[in-house]
């Protein structure tokens, strides 16, 4: 990917198994953060609103926005909590 610097993306937990997933495009969620669609600020809020307006059952529970950055061509969440969600326990 060509971008670098801070970005936003949408994440949630998959309803049926609780696995953290990342919004990868209309109707698509991936457990791999590398697949996450990177969103600019306005688009991020709009995407989230659209997801929350979907009828039940939604495949993903309580999606929310997180901050991330591109470093060495990889998406790295800004917070430790989201890094642990994306990459697993540190122990």
């Amino acid at each position: 990917m060509a971008q670098s610097g801070p970005v936003r993306l949408v994440t949630g937990n998959r309803l049926r198994d609780g696995v953290p997933v990342y919004y990868a495009g209309p109707g698509r969620w991936s457990p791999a953060i590398a697949d996450a669609r990177l969103l600019a600020e306005e688009a991020a809020a709009a995407a989230l609103a659209a997801l929350e307006a979907e009828t039940l059952p939604r495949p993903v529970v309580a999606p929310y926005l997180i901050d991330a950055e591109i470093a060495s061509d990889r998406i790295r969440p800004a917070s430790l909590r989201e890094r642990i969600r994306a990459f697993g326990p540190t122990v």
Partner: protein
């Protein structure tokens, strides 16, 4: 231990079917997450960082071998081959799928296990002394009353939507409180009155978390027959008057602080006076029915002098050390209460593999009258072991990684799962525990009894408030810092730890604990444990050592 009858089993099967339908409706979209969340919490199912987490109830910490084997089965079949034992003596699995939970509960039900009310704003696991039925200092086994409370509090229609969670603990040995009674919403000390009749001292309003408080006595003596009606009175006052506007102000301890214990007592006694006591009265026959399930095992007293045992102690220093730290005297001569440590050096406290679970089940059958207990310090107890079996038992522990001889020592650390697993956490706790354990292992005998308890957030599941050294993880601008408290205690001298000073960055925690231990070691007089020294010399020397000027190259602590 308690064995289900037809009523209990029928209830459990109906409950599993009810839950299965709730999951079906959730997956089909008939229930929103907001409507479903309290329902799944009533079945101990959290949505955590990596998956769902299922918390299986182990009532008052007592398990049968077939139940332990079922936990191993769940670990293998539905999880990643291991589970975690908590400070509330429950068992947690971290990699659970919602869609498989009805099957898990159905499997658990075949051995009288469940996950009912291990979360949610209702009664949680009623806990007891892990040495119940084995310790010489108890009046009588408290567990029949725990089982009575467990049943009465199961899906109680009036009290299933309380302001917040509700935890009860029962001890029959007040002078050696191994159940941490004083930090529970209701604490019960089994005791006798002047006439020798059995009843309870009732305490209300203890708890940890954001506002740690010790419980206070509302009634010195409650005759045992009135146990349930009195609990109902307390719960009804709480259900009506507990705060519901602020998550951190909604436990009963806040109500007791607000009213003062005298007015709380008045309110409870007034409600109790109006309750129809006959409806909930426990007859002697009923209590005897329950007590029969907990009849002491048939153990023949064995002479204290045992040449073979003495020889084993002399010949194997490691065995001798294990006996010294991990066994305690049983009330029947020649027997021992054995604690198996789930705190191997440098590993997550309280974790247990499926293989270890299976072994513990075997050991319980071979050596402990088919009984297993769990402690609120995340270890396993085999309560009824004959001394002549200790050597054979110990020989089987080593290969399984269960032989660590560190009960009560500084490496016997209590820690919640923390930010590595828990969505409520502010910081990680397991890496801190692992680092401290590795670092202090070589000096643990010299240090002696010292209880370190670590929580990854203010919810205090690691019980840090009642650690001799307590460590609380906090988030400062996205960095992990750790608040240290000193002087806490969960036993009969219950005390809440005092904050020593500003929080310490993660990389400095080991150094900080070293400095505190150094003060203790240099100041202690003969026989003093950490808390004895702390209470004698006060916080100042510890504070001074911890925050002493540091060499320029070391980072300062956060303000």
């Amino acid at each position: 231990m308690y064995r289900y009858d037809a009523f209990d089993q029928r209830f459990l099967e109906e409950r599993v079917a009810q839950y299965r339908d709730q999951v079906r409706r959730r997956l089909a979209g008939q229930l929103s997450e907001e409507e479903f969340k309290p329902l799944r919490l009533m079945n101990g199912l959290y949505l955590q960082l990596h998956a769902y987490m299922l918390r299986i109830a182990i009532p008052y910490g007592t398990l049968a071998p077939e139940q332990m084997r079922m936990l191993a089965h769940v670990a293998r079949r539905y999880d990643k081959g291991w589970g975690h034992f908590t400070t509330r003596t429950n068992c947690q699995f971290n990699w659970i799928k919602l869609e498989e939970t009805p099957d898990i509960l159905a499997d658990l039900a075949t051995v009288q296990l469940h996950a009912i009310q291990t979360s949610g704003n209702s009664f949680r696991n009623t806990t007891a002394d892990p040495w119940a039925g084995a310790a010489a200092d108890e009046i009588e086994d408290p567990r029949p009353y725990c089982e009575i409370i467990r049943q009465w509090s199961t899906l109680h229609p009036e009290f299933s939507f309380l302001p917040r969670k509700f935890k009860i603990a029962v001890s029959a040995a007040k002078e050696a409180d191994r159940a941490a009674v004083k930090v529970h919403d209701i604490g019960l000390y089994l005791r006798r009155d002047e006439a020798g009749d059995v009843g309870f001292e009732v305490l209300v309003g203890g708890g940890l978390g954001r506002t740690p408080i010790l419980a206070e006595t509302v009634r010195d003596f409650l005759p045992k027959r009135h146990l349930l009606s009195y609990l109902e009175a307390i719960l009804r006052v709480y259900n009506q008057h507990g705060r519901r506007d602020n998550l951190y102000k909604s436990r009963i301890k806040i109500l007791v602080q607000h009213l003062g214990v005298a007015r709380m007592r008045e309110a409870v006694e007034a409600e109790w006076a109006a309750i129809d006591k006959a409806a909930l009265a426990l007859t002697d026959d009923t209590i005897a029915d329950f007590a029969r399930h907990f009849a002491p095992p048939d153990l023949a007293p064995v002479p204290e002098a045992d040449a073979a045992f003495a020889a084993a102690l002399a010949s194997d220093k490691q065995f001798a050390r294990w006996v010294e730290h991990n066994t305690a005297r049983h009330k029947v001569p020649g027997h021992a209460i054995v604690t198996l440590s789930l705190k191997p050096y440098g590993r997550p406290p309280g974790d247990c593999t499926a293989e270890q679970m299976d072994l513990v089940a075997d050991l319980a059958e071979d050596y402990s009258q088919c009984e297993i207990r769990l402690t609120h310090e995340q270890n396993i107890v085999l309560p009824h072991v004959c001394r002549s079996d200790l050597w054979a038992l110990w020989c089987r522990l080593g290969p399984a990684g269960l032989a660590t001889a560190n009960i009560g020592l500084v490496t016997d650390i209590i820690a919640c799962p923390g930010l590595d697993y828990c969505s409520l956490a502010s910081a990680r706790s397991i890496p801190i525990a692992e680092r401290l354990s590795r670092h202090l292992a070589a000096r643990e005998d010299d240090i002696g009894e010292l209880k370190i308890k670590i929580s990854g957030c203010i919810n205090a599941c690691g019980h840090h408030h009642v650690g001799h050294i307590g460590i609380l993880g906090v988030d400062k601008n996205g960095e992990e810092f750790y608040q240290i408290t000193l002087g806490g205690s969960a036993d009969q001298d219950a005390a809440l730890g005092s904050i020593i000073g500003p929080a310490v960055p993660s990389a400095e925690v080991t150094n900080a604990i070293d400095r505190l231990i150094e003060v203790y070691l240099s100041q202690r007089v003969a026989g003093e444990r950490f808390n004895d020294t702390y209470r004698r010399i006060g916080a100042a020397p510890f504070k001074a050592a911890l925050y002493a000027p540091r060499p320029a190259r070391e980072p300062a602590y956060a303000a």
